[in-house]
Amino acid sequence: MSLIQQFLSRIRVFACEANGQELKNWLLVENNVPDIYRNLGLELRQTHPPNTDSLEKTVDQLLPEEDNVPDGRGSPWPGFNSFIKDYLEYWRDVNFSDLVQLHTRLSDLLISCANALANPTYGVMLLQTSMSLSESLSKLVMGITRNPELLAQAEAAKSTGGGADESSERKSIVELAADIIQKFFTSCLTDRSSGRWETPKGKKVAVYLFANLTLKLLFTCDKSPLAAQMFTNLSTSGPALQLYPASQRVTFLYYLGRFNFDHAHYFRAHLCFEEAYRQCHVAALAHKRKILTYWIPCNMLFGRFPSQGLLGKQEAVGFGEIFVPICQAIRLGDFVRFYAAINSPLAKDFLWGKGFYLPFLYRLKNLVWRSFTRKTFILTWKGPSATIAPSLSFDDLLVAARFVQRQLEASSQSGNGLLMPSEGLIFGNKVPDMDDVESVVAGLLYAGLLNGFIARQQRKFVVEGTKKHGGVAVRAGWPGVCGAVMERFREQRNEALEALDAGEAVEAPGEENDVPGWVRNY
């Protein structure tokens, strides 16, 4: 019996047994396989050359559709045979030394596998195979993406490819691979074997496995915005995350957190990281560390600093050296220290590498301003007074701001006093003026970080609500950052609800703790 016959007869047994595990074990595609796969390829080249329909005939002959299949057993079906034919062609034509060609072949094979998986009766037996092929494609694409020369070749091969339509020409190879893996995801998502809130059955068991694989690919290749559609689909019809194994839950929440972080939804990101961290295996230090890497900056951006208890954890080694000086500078309202902390050789590379530098630079600077105005108030307010409301004079704030600007210029990295636009208090070397300090205070007020109002005629910020805070003006005027951010967040949600009630065409805000894409069964 020829190798092809032997191979197909085993495949037939597994298909009739509906044995997905064995199908996966046999339908290998990577280079590190036993020699017999290469021998199979050789035999195919000799007996079934390209451009003939002989292979199709052989497959159909050796994988006939079964009649009267009893429950729990399976049968080959046309989509399956078509996939097996493509699989054999893959081994006939593959050349592992040409990664670009390998990428095209493997992509085609996956599309064929996805079509077979879509069969509502028997497709599920290809679930494990689909997963392993998707992992192989994902690995290959990540490898190509890391190598600029190969990437250019792959992109060129794609655009000159005969069958490629215009839309696929425009897409990067990462996007195309993610599209293919999402076909599997969609097939699993739309499986009707179990409902959204029931223990997953059939193809539903793999929804989050494919989601996580897609996310890993997109994040590794810096294409995370492409995940948006998948999260929308999950929100609409996805099964509850809690019905899936812990490893899948934690991985999914980690990526969902990063997606929200990248889109400046820091509170949502926090909710994801918090749950990912809590549900992580206690001994999985590397995973907990990855989660903390994002969770800590996320909290800092809405005014919560990592505690000593957190920084003392084994998985947080080294984070204190980066984050503590930044927190300390914010606490003191000291701009010189703040820029020194984010630009230290240790911090700068880390913050840039992780994408934290710009959000830190532009968002945490507001928190430094808050502490700075607070400190200036403490140093200048002569109260308490029964007749005059506590206030911060803009004249004083301007003196303080100009002093700090001179400090910044004296400590400039360039050494000649010239500041980058991002380094100055207002904008590079611009000397702060009255309008600048007034607009900074107005911005802090709008963000809810100050409590009171601006008296323009008197050129001052007047604190409100001192009585409510036991007569302590600074507590009334400078509410806690985290509480203020949350309050602003709630206000925005209420505004959206009111707009909705008034019949305006706005999107309905979810519950306060809702994160789109995270399916929870309340």
Binding site: A246, H281, T376
Partner: protein
Amino acid sequence: MASTTTSQKPITTSDSKPEDPQQKPTAALEEDDEFEDFPVDDWEAEETEAAAGGTGTNTQHLWEESWDDDDTSDDFSNQLKEELKKVEAARKR
């Protein structure tokens, strides 16, 4: 043909006893972002960070929300105080 691969783990929920996924954290900060696959598929609630790592249901204690500093004895505050005084004195003159 594929006898060497039959011992591979199934991709769906495994009920086998989890091995110890103990890993060492790396102190290096430039590590890559890849979130590796977990060595085990599922684990019990008792083995989570929340239960066994002392994090609990409430993670409040991991964060510091009240960090305002009323102390004005640090160098920066002293310099600022001096500057404000100086300008104030000049105004009065």
